[in-house]
Subunit: 351 residues, 4 copies
């Protein structure tokens, strides 16, 4: 199999999301990392030299000796690129790769609001890949850009999709308790979070109030159309390493009991194409019955960190349902999500 | 002044709330602690011997040598009793004190649902003390029972009161991030909360969905009547020592901008009788303008831990307002609240 | 291979160390768990019902439905027993199993001080198993008791063994920073450790000042003889979930440079019989060169949690060497250590 | 009294140590802050605008409106300067102030190794101020530089001084568990310390192995002479906000029991001139008898954060004594220490 693996690059591979890409791609059956890039400061070094590795899993041996390349479409020519670039850099560099013929699966937010760029979560909206044709035609690209959502939007949207399919969706109140790794490295200062909560994450609420509506919308000819439901979000940072928790209050399109909702969540499978891929979550959604779950430390690695874990499905005194959703922010909500997207693209013949 | 101080007792003085009563009553201008009680296991010991003191402030010297008494109205005869009893014990013991002529200012939840027992927060509902007359008449008590609310209800209700007075109140969504000290001692196991959040606190959501409606209601002849607004609550435990944070989305009775709401919160004074007492918060509500405040570690001791701190007052995409409220759970939300209640009772002539 | 697996029991299987036994024995190539015991309170329940599972790894399915048995040699008849009993219970129950013919690999401290009972760490003192013959003869047992050391003694002793073999050993100063899981569950209260250190662990320093001397000693006819070197220990509890760190200052028998010591540690293999078993650490000792390692969160799972990780090997201004040792306390220092011991017993023909 | 207060400046007032200076000088009976400086980036702003205030105590009102000045002896002309400068900047700027006639009480390490610059801890070595005469003469300064020690050296040296006076001192093994605030702000990244310990602090061990020997030495004519005893130090960073804990093993000059040592520590008063100043610790040393104290969260504010807290005084199996020392690192070990030094200088007529 190795000889047939698709060569891939990781852009901004020394940062915290970049490291997660490298770790998750270690031993991937379809993809082989042949290029790692970083800022100019690191050029001329090997990845082992340039990278301050932060994960408990050891740095893969093959990565250690790879040279760090500059982040440019000239220097890196591969059919598939995983991008951990910051939004401002992504804005200019990702289109260069797409123009040069690479498909860019990106964790950056730069293009999420473009009507011809999908925010892809395979078990939610695999069909949105269709918009790539519009993207290529309009922009004259041979490759393309596929984004994954903000880490907080991800698990929330998977569970909302299951409910929307079964009952419709009118409005959502969401309050997040987000992990430190979501802020990158060095990110949050320890003095700011020890014995503390920070009830604010810059720019986050705007993203989480918008992205789910795009993901839950439909392909409408030349553009992705937003789903029509209300959504109000408050985001908090808490002293947790990995795993974003979201407390949800939901008004459905038609009434459903907590038991009916739990059954629907439990049975949810996602579109056929999203299943059976190397990174497909198994199960798609795990519904826990204990009163005090999910918890980040105990449940974040469910389904190798790709499963959406839901708990406390119960009636809401104002709307219909209340529940808690947990999703691993650097696996499901970042690098793992992008890899899963790329796998779907292989299956659908884009790669 | 010392010779005129009112002798008071603290029931269950060795527990975590009991300790906070002892610490806050140290040097109180109106009250002098003359009796400390605990379970029978501790009888015959001094408080210094019986108590595993947990507060950073040192145990007051006068407390160290006080004998620990059994928790009974026979053993302890004082006009004013502060109760840190657990709810089940409070159920039987607090009425014995009230019958014997003591006024019981209690942190226990046992009597909060009784229609003739006030849940008192002076700056919210000082007028509810009026119901004590009904309580005494109906129950044949010479003393009486006055409760303070659940620690999470407290700050939330202070801020809702200010808004309700100005704009009316239709519905509230609240998600709390609560401190460890709210669970008593030993309370939450460290293995359960390090690098974790527990999205559940037994019995808490029911209290916080009900108590604010009673506190914001009116004295209706023979009973306290609930205010009519909707309220949905989700409670979480986080790795914070002290200070409960609540994220609120609010529909007002009539539209108001975030700036108008902030101005109303900032100007709120509470009823005249609630002002100028030894424990009166100053200010009643502090509205912070920074985008990332209030924070438990930085703001919980505002106004000696008695002030309600509000921040992030902003529009809600679904309702009218979003904001964050912080209140010190063992001071404002427990012992300090009870002491403030007793001060109001002195001012209104009950003591 | 499955049909030939040795049936084993786990005593006190619902506690935190017991759970780790169950998790580590899941899929073990040589041992098959056929019995789980707990206190009488749980009898009549399945393990899934009786156990408040605390590990991030899910409870193995086979364990979920096993009935919880009483902890007695009558109820549980298997050739090999893993014991997670507390010391006081172990004192009376473990000999009953040994008498009835079972070999007991125990994490309890009850018999560690007996001169005919080994404190076994295979890569340190595999030869100490020899004393089992004396134990059986003197006590009239068909089975026997083999202990593993205190979790803090473990990693420290592995690294001291390597140095002692090469250079001799005169004296050791050790200060530990120990993880919360070492205190069991519920163990340390969260209010006691958030934003805090507890510079005391009851009974711990006595164990850690004695056990290494026994492990590093020799079989002297009818008893295990203590090695002769000085050792002074101070133990602390810190806010870490798993992984005990020990800071060591060491006087060797003969001078050695830090580089020589590091080379010796790196090359250490342990006795031949300790190698190649299912739980053998690989490497035995990992020496890290970074100035700020080992760290519990990043390094505790090295070698599946069985490897001793050493760092900061450098000269000591008073003695010869300073270094830092990390060892996973519930894997290497408890359940994993006992399982490794049992594997050695299989290899040497005791089972 | 106010009209006679000495005008003082705080250099680098916006950093974490600078903020602590401002907070501790609020309401000081002898000193009045008239100037605050910061890097050029902040010039033209008020302190309230320039400073990201991190302390739970609110920023003093008088500080809020003070203009931020550049850090130069031209811009700031006051008799007394408190310096929170980083070491490299201090190297050039502090002498300019000293030359211009200001006395600089500094927390920076830049001049601690100079033989004519005291590392001053009033209750240890008030007499070292004498060396200022040499400093002024040799350097041609009208003012001078007085340093306080590294935050970890401070509490340790106070307790060693008491023991040395009574019993002599031969050697010391010290392992520290240091708080996050010691690293400044933003300092340690939260991802590096949550569920973790970092067994390394750059440059720290060298300081803590040297400074106590200077402080415990004597004025020898033209220079301060080092005390002769051995000292070996290992430093760790732990998840504590404030309060450095040090575990000590000590060989005394002559044998003493733990009880004798505890009595000596408890009775220690320091030189006469160090007593009765506004910042004098009361008591100088608090010896706690509980087996599990001192603890940072519970004991760091003893004596307003100026007292050295000692516990677990007990025999050492290798040397004479073991004990644990706690000292508040940003109060006693930094800003508070410098202020105390300045008070001593007033008393001795330097100011």
């Amino acid at each position: 199999m190795t000889q047939k693996r698709i060569p891939v690059a990781v852009l901004a591979a020394t940062g915290s999301v970049g490291q997660r890409f490298v770790q998750l791609l270690d031993g991937h059956p379809w993809f082989e990392v042949t290029a790692l890039t970083a800022s100019e400061r690191s050029s001329g070094q090997t990845y082992g030299e340039a990278c301050h590795w932060l994960l408990p899993e050891p740095m893969p041996e093959w990565a250690r000796s790879l040279p760090v390349l500059p982040t440019s479409a000239d220097a890196v020519q591969v059919p598939l690129v995983f991008s951990a670039l910051p939004a401002d850099t992504a804005k200019t560099i990702e289109p260069e790769f797409a123009k040069a013929g690479s498909f860019v699966c990106t964790n950056a937010s730069a293009f999420r609001r473009e009507p011809d760029v999908p925010i892809l979560v395979p078990e939610v909206n695999a069909a949105h890949l269709e918009i790539l044709k519009v993207q290529q035609r309009k922009r004259g690209w041979k490759g393309g850009i596929v984004t994954n959502p903000n880490c907080t939007s991800t698990g929330m949207t998977v569970s909302l999709k299951a409910l929307m399919d079964a009952f419709g969706l009118e409005s959502v109140f969401a309050v997040s308790l987000q992990a430190l790794s979501g802020a990158g490295y060095p990110g949050v200062a320890s003095m700011d979070i020890l014995d503390n909560v920070i009830p604010y994450i810059g720019g986050e609420e705007e993203k989480v109030e918008w992205e789910p509506r795009k993901m839950l919308g439909v392909v409408g000819g030349e553009q992705l159309e937003l789903a029509k439901f209300g959504i109000s979000v408050h985001t908090n940072r808490v002293a947790v390493s990995d795993g974003h928790l979201v407390c949800l209050s939901i008004r459905l399109g038609k009434r459903a009991s907590a038991a009916e909702a739990a059954a629907v969540l439990r049975a949810y499978q996602g579109p056929a194409d999203s299943r059976g891929l190397p990174s497909s979550p198994s199960p798609v959604i795990l519904v826990r019955d204990e009163p005090n779950r999910p918890q980040p430390r105990l449940d974040r690695l469910t389904g190798k960190g790709m499963t959406t874990v839901v708990g406390r499905v119960r009636p809401d005194s104002q709307l219909d349902l209340k529940m808690v959703v947990l999703s691993h922010n650097t696996i499901r909500g970042a690098a793992g999500g992008s890899i899963y997207n790329a796998e779907l693209m292989v299956k659908e013949g884009w790669l």
